[in-house]
């Protein structure tokens, strides 16, 4: 059965495609531009909401992991895994859109800027999280290990951010996000992007959760 054969998937897909179209149209036409970063700077409208969504995904991993260790119910583990997958997908987009913005703005694809570096480190931690899920051993133990890693990984974020921020203080003079927020006109477009991405993250979360649940049922059937 194809992905779109399921009615709920078709509705989600059409809704997301429609909103994405409107969103891109608004960013390219009515969204206010920054004086210092004309044209290319409008990637801000995608990059910042994507980053927030990714961080929310990872925060959910920590919350669901705590709930799993506390309640010992498999559903929380599936929730944590689905959030990790959705979060990582969005974090990957952050690492794509960040360098695209960085090249014209700063002259290099990669700058060891705290936000970008923290995103990269967090992305690497969660790649390790998936490796642990895959090669960790017994599935029941792996769920517990992954929950522990999900908690440690997210709690490490403030320290990573702080240490990178202090590491190269000369790189702290990039007010690229602050510049945009000086213009009140950005809010409507930005809010639409936030809503769209929240919807996308919920959809991807639901799809992955359903997949993990089906996999578990299949495994139980085989046993």
């Amino acid at each position: 059965m194809s992905f779109l054969a399921l009615r709920v998937n078709k509705i989600h897909f059409l809704l997301a495609a429609f909103l994405s179209g409107i969103n891109i149209f608004l960013i390219l036409t009515i969204a206010p531009q920054n004086q210092l970063q004309p044209d290319f700077g409008n990637i801000f409208y995608i990059h910042v909401p994507v980053a927030w969504t990714a961080f929310i995904g990872y925060m959910l991993v920590m919350i669901f992991s705590i709930l799993f260790l506390w309640k010992q119910e498999q559903t929380w583990d599936h929730f944590a895994l689905a959030s990790a997958e959705a979060g990582t997908m969005f974090m990957f987009l952050v690492l794509i859109t960040g360098p695209i913005w960085a090249k014209p703005a700063w002259g290099h694809f990669w700058v060891w800027e705290p936000r970008l570096t923290t995103s990269l480190v967090l992305f690497l931690i969660f790649l390790g999280y998936f490796m642990l899920r895959e090669f960790g051993g017994n599935p029941e133990q792996v769920s517990r290990y992954a929950a522990v890693l999900g908690i440690i990984g997210f709690l490490d974020v403030p320290l990573i951010f702080l240490s990178v921020k202090l590491w190269l203080p000369e790189l702290q003079s990039h007010p690229q996000v602050g510049q945009y927020f000086e213009d009140a006109g950005i809010m409507p477009v930005l809010m639409i992007t936030y809503s769209l991405l929240s919807l996308l993250v919920v959809i991807s979360f639901m799809i992955r959760f359903r997949v993990h649940n089906l996999k578990r049922r299949e495994t139980h059937k085989i046993i």
């Binding site: 690497l124 931690i125 390790g128 090669f135 522990v148 908690i151 709690l155 240490s163 202090l166």
Partner: protein, 219 residues
């Protein structure tokens, strides 16, 4: 906890495999760095803090692999899992023993490190030892947690560095920065923030280890 540490020390005294292998590995990496960065002593002095912490991090992986795996070989870890003691205490004993072994290996390879890279010792030894102790304990505290997670994994040798390096990045940054300031004989007020980061990291990972170790070792 004393008994657990004593057991590890006797075991190491008989086999001498962990400290010796960590020392030789540290020495070999130092040698590779000396060949790879064939630059003037002045430049070496700039790179040295970073190189030193890379050697320590790599060496710690070797120790962490062994710290848990030799008990897993014949399922001997069952004896401390089933022992009527708080598992958080087991975590602390592993942390302490890992710290002792890493520090011993480090004391052995730090002299050749300075000799091979032509570095002169014109800084406060006390501060330097302090940062080594703090950095080692921070790396080992997060490393013990990771080693526990990878205890029964099929690819534990790969998983430990893959998980440890990004998680320990604040430690490497803070320890390297502090060492740079120590080498430059800068006053403590200028770099105490890095010590604060190291302490916070150490306390957080040790506390998490104590609280979550029960979940990690449970069968």
């Amino acid at each position: 906890m004393g008994n657990l540490i004593w057991k590890e020390l006797i075991n190491e005294w008989r086999s001498r495999e962990m400290v010796v292998s960590m020392f030789i590995f540290g020495l070999a990496v130092t040698l590779v760095f000396a060949f790879a960065f064939n630059v003037s002593p002045v430049l070496f002095r700039q790179f040295a803090p970073g190189l030193l912490w890379v050697v320590i991090l790599f060496t710690s992986v070797l120790g962490l692999n062994r710290l848990f795996s030799y008990e897993g070989d014949m399922d001997a870890h069952w004896s401390w899992i089933s022992a009527p003691i708080d598992r958080g205490i087991v975590f602390f004993s592993k942390l302490l023993i890992g710290f002792i072994f890493l520090s011993m290996a480090e004391l052995l390879f730090i002299v050749p490190f300075f000799l091979f890279l032509n570095l002169d010792v014109s800084f406060s030894i006390l501060f330097f030892l302090g940062i080594l102790i703090l950095g080692n304990s921070a790396i080992i505290s997060i490393g013990c947690l990771i080693s526990g997670l990878a205890l029964r994994a099929n690819m534990r040798e790969v998983l430990i560095p893959v998980l440890l390096f990004p998680l320990a990045s604040p430690v490497v940054i803070a320890a390297t920065k502090s060492t740079v300031f120590i080498f430059q004989n800068k006053p403590f007020e200028e770099w105490r923030i890095w010590i604060l980061i190291l302490f916070t990291f150490l306390l957080t990972s040790a506390l998490l280890g104590y609280l979550l170790y029960d979940q990690i070792v449970e069968e």
